[in-house]
Amino acid sequence: MEERPLRIMVVDDEPIVGKRLKPALEKGGYIVEVYDDGAKALARLEEASFDIVVTDVRMEEVDGIRVLEQVQDRSKHTKVIIITGYATVEVAREALAKGAFDFIAKPFKPNDLRVIIEKAIEVLRAERVKASGDTTTA
């Protein structure tokens, strides 16, 4: 089975995050879209699907929990990774309880996020294999 490049959305109202993450993740062969406005990210999620969404939890107007909920409404397979601000681990716990795949606390190194993304990819692959197996059986 030929694998298509994974699509990753990064949402953070601090422009530096997207600016740093985009090139770092593209190096891994992923297609990366970056948004510094939660509302625009939600609009984009209406028209396109992503394998992984990385979103800051604390943003003006549309926060990361809202992004998480919208992703879950549209695609059960998409993995959401929450970026928490400094010392907001409680919020991250809430996000995990709501179904986020994992979280990472700022400040972090791009490589730390890459490790989490790779874990998410493994889970995605396993889910796909299981889904194709179920289809064959049916």
Binding site: I16, V17, R20, R58, K106, P107, K109, P110
Partner: protein
């Protein structure tokens, strides 16, 4: 050897002791807060490399943390020293304003597309972290003095408070060092108490052997026993010059503590050494931060009333990793010194420092006989089979346990 445990609540204490106890407890908190400020600055130092993705919230949180820490130190220091601290609070307000201004200025420069844009892949945030860290660690100098940084102010308050405690309770300089308390000013000598159980080891005539027994203790419970081991090596010649303690035949005569030449108190992360008045250093306390994540090794010393015969600075190797905020001395001869310290490197590093201090103390005991740190290190290398200087070309051979194996 008298090895005993003295639970804090085991003796009745009068009101005077309660005052000391409260001040000592508050001073302990001051030390912890100061450590937290240093850790925050160390964190900023790490984050200024540009490797990390960080944002404004992080920077604001760090500014809050150091300013809140300094506020706490000011409060504790002024309660202990019974002063109002008006100037200290004014200075704190100045620091907060200056730090917030730096943050705004660097961010504005970025927004306005200043020439520096694009220079730093970490963005304005990393530049702000660098500026803030620089501002926090700025040192005043007598010649051209920009205003001192917040870290130096915190260090001065720490030092001032320790000196005040030392002067207020001359029988118990140790109260300025940890949670030790005196049993009563009307009692001759010193009884040492601690919050929790601190074993106290009293050293009389055969102190090197007794020290040895401490050294053979469990380092996980008393990691500074490594330091004691090095110190014992360094002080070995001194052992010969100490006269054995006399007992009290028939229950009369001097109490044992009145004849003690040297005392050692050790327990948990603390290690207290009391020297006879003839030595240049009257008191030394070493403390390891209680948690491995708080990797600071503290040394405190008091040189007694004669500041000219100050503590042995020279035992510190040049170019070692002394945290730049520390290294103060005031007119009362106090030093407060801390070193970044990794528990992973622990054993030999502590042993080395202990040895160097011991050797240096011996040397300072004689008239104008001083040995350079490099010379001491040469000898220490023989004793502990440290790696040769060729191991590191960058000068780290002086602290050769810092991973150059």
């Amino acid at each position: 050897m008298i090895f005993r445990t003295q639970p804090f609540s085991s003796k009745k204490r009068g009101p005077g002791n309660l005052v000391v106890e409260r001040k000592a407890t508050r001073f302990r908190r001051l030390i912890d807060t100061h450590t937290d400020i240093l850790e925050t600055i160390a964190d900023l130092e790490e984050k200024q490399s540009g490797e990390y993705i960080l944002d404004r919230h992080y920077i604001e949180a760090q500014i809050d943390r150091v300013c809140d820490g300094l506020r706490q130190i000011i409060y504790d220091s002024n309660v202990i020293c019974e002063s109002d601290g008006e100037q200290d609070y004014a200075r704190l307000a100045g620091y907060r304003r200056a730090l917030e201004d730096v943050l705004k200025r660097v961010e504005r420069k970025d927004t306005e597309g200043a020439a520096i844009r694009g220079e730093d892949p970490g963005g304005w945030e990393v530049r702000a972290v660098r500026s803030i860290r620089r501002m926090l660690t700025r040192r005043s100098s007598p010649s051209s003095a920009p205003e001192q940084g917040l870290a130096e102010t915190a260090g001065e308050l720490h030092q001032r408070t320790a000196a005040w405690l030392s002067a207020a309770f001359p029988l118990l300089p140790s109260c300025a060092l940890s949670c030790f308390c005196i049993s009563g000013h009307d009692t001759p000598g010193i009884e040492v108490f601690a919050l929790g159980e601190i074993p106290s080891l009293e050293l009389n005539g055969n102190w090197p052997a007794l020290l040895e027994s401490l050294i053979s203790g469990d380092p996980a419970r008393a990691p500074l026993s490594y330091f004691a081991q090095g110190l014992a090596e360094g002080l070995r010649p001194l052992g010969r010059s100490l006269s054995p303690s006399r007992g009290r035949p028939g229950g009369k005569g001097p109490r044992p503590h009145e004849n003690q030449d040297l005392r050692l108190y050790a327990g948990g992360p603390y290690f207290l050494l009391w020297f006879p008045p003839s030595r240049p250093l009257r008191l030394l306390l070493c403390g390891l931060s209680p948690a491995p994540s708080e990797n600071l090794l503290y040394l405190y010393g008091s040189s007694g009333p004669d500041p000219l015969r100050g503590p042995p600075w020279s035992f510190l190797p040049q170019r070692n990793t002394v945290f730049p905020t520390y290294g103060y001395r005031d007119s009362d001869g106090w030093i407060i010194w801390a070193e970044r310290f990794s528990w992973v490197q622990g054993e030999e590093r502590l042993r080395l420092l202990g040895y160097m201090l011991g050797a240096s103390l011996l040397l300072q005991g004689g008239p104008a006989s001083r040995e350079s740190p490099e010379a001491i290190i040469e000898r220490v290398g023989d004793v502990f089979s440290l790696p040769s200087k060729e191991c590191c070309d960058d000068g780290r051979a002086t602290s050769s346990n810092n991973g150059c194996r």
